[in-house]
Amino acid sequence: MNDHDLPDELTSEEREAFASLPRERIPPATLEERVVGALRAEGLLSDATRQRAGAQGFRRSWVAAAVAAGLALFVSGVAVGHWSAGERVADAVSAALDHGADPQQAATEVQEAGSEYVRAVAHLAELAGQDTGGELASGAEAARVALHAAALELARVRPDDPTLRLVLAVLEERADAASDTTAGPARKTIWF
């Protein structure tokens, strides 16, 4: 007696129904990293690979920390801005998130951009004391745009990060507020 001699053989409709069930499914992205991590822990993947992966992990965490620090400065209410510095932060973040980028170089660029950003904060603090409101406003707007771009880039990689979502909400709220004050002082780039 072979398999098909059974009294309850499938009907053609039932066969079609079974055949239509999907045989493949894209696994969640996190699962691959879990599996690779487990294999590394077992020593089944090489040390050289671990070092490369470690560098990438360092890069990701470093960039996240750098962006978080930059955003924290802005969100904390310090009116800062320098288009060039802000743009460099965004560029450095993009470079660091690019898989082809050298992690050490990307980290250095972010660090340099961050230092320039801090200098911009100090300079704007001086300007604030000199009542140069127009320059302050344009600088703050430039910083907001650059940081918003950087945050969106990071959100692309970490869409579910609750802190990042909160920061984006604050930035977007500020963007709305800024667009409501179009009658403000003429925009002007400040160079440091």
Binding site: L10, L21, R25, P27, A38, L44, L45, A53
Partner: protein, 181 residues
């Protein structure tokens, strides 16, 4: 030849010789899309358990790769490891106090007024033993002797499990029609 173009055997050689992570990732991406739904069905749709089983399957497979003789395809071998691991999880569930000491043989039937279930949900409702045999036979195309060997059960048991699985499945899918058979 680029790594993604290498055969399963060449990729496996790289993993065995040097723990090549890039080669492993290619192998993982090639076979996990089939492995995941297979173990998910064996487990009756438990997503978290299925991911754990996929992870354990790959760890066991990579450990055993040096001894794999390539008498079957890598995918068939992987599904076999996944099946064994999933059955261990099912046995663990059945040993848990919440499920009682004995293997669940009564299907989780929907209430009498429930509408027809879709096939995927109905399969998930089958008792573990029925479901496993049905999946191997009707979805994966295994014969009863092959199922007997894989599950370490008698061929007659495999036939009987399949018979009961199909009857139960029909009852779940269309209670009214099954009554008239």
């Amino acid at each position: 030849m680029a790594i993604p173009d290498l055969s399963d055997r060449d990729l496996s050689d790289r993993i065995v010789r040097g723990g090549d992570e890039a080669a492993f990732r290619v192998l993982y991406r090639r076979h996990t899309p089939a492995l995941l739904p297979f173990v998910l069905r064996v487990l009756g749709g438990a997503e978290a358990d299925a991911e754990d089983v996929v992870q354990d399957t790959w760890v066991r497979a990579v450990r055993a790769l040096p001894r794999f003789r390539w008498e079957s395809s890598l995918r068939t071998w992987l599904l076999g490891i996944g099946l064994n691991r999933a059955r261990e999880v099912l046995r663990g569930r059945n040993r848990a106090p919440a499920h009682g000491a004995e293997e669940r043989e009564v299907p989780v039937l929907p209430p009498p007024t429930a509408e027809r279930l879709d096939l995927e949900r109905a399969i998930a409702c089958l008792p573990d033993g029925y479901r496993t045999v049905l999946l191997l036979h009707d979805l994966e195309g295994f014969t009863h002797p092959e199922i007997s060997e894989r599950l370490d059960i008698a061929i007659g048991t495999s036939r009987s499990q399949l018979h009961h699985a199909r009857r139960t499945l029909r009852r779940l899918l269309d209670p009214a029609a099954e009554e008239t058979r």
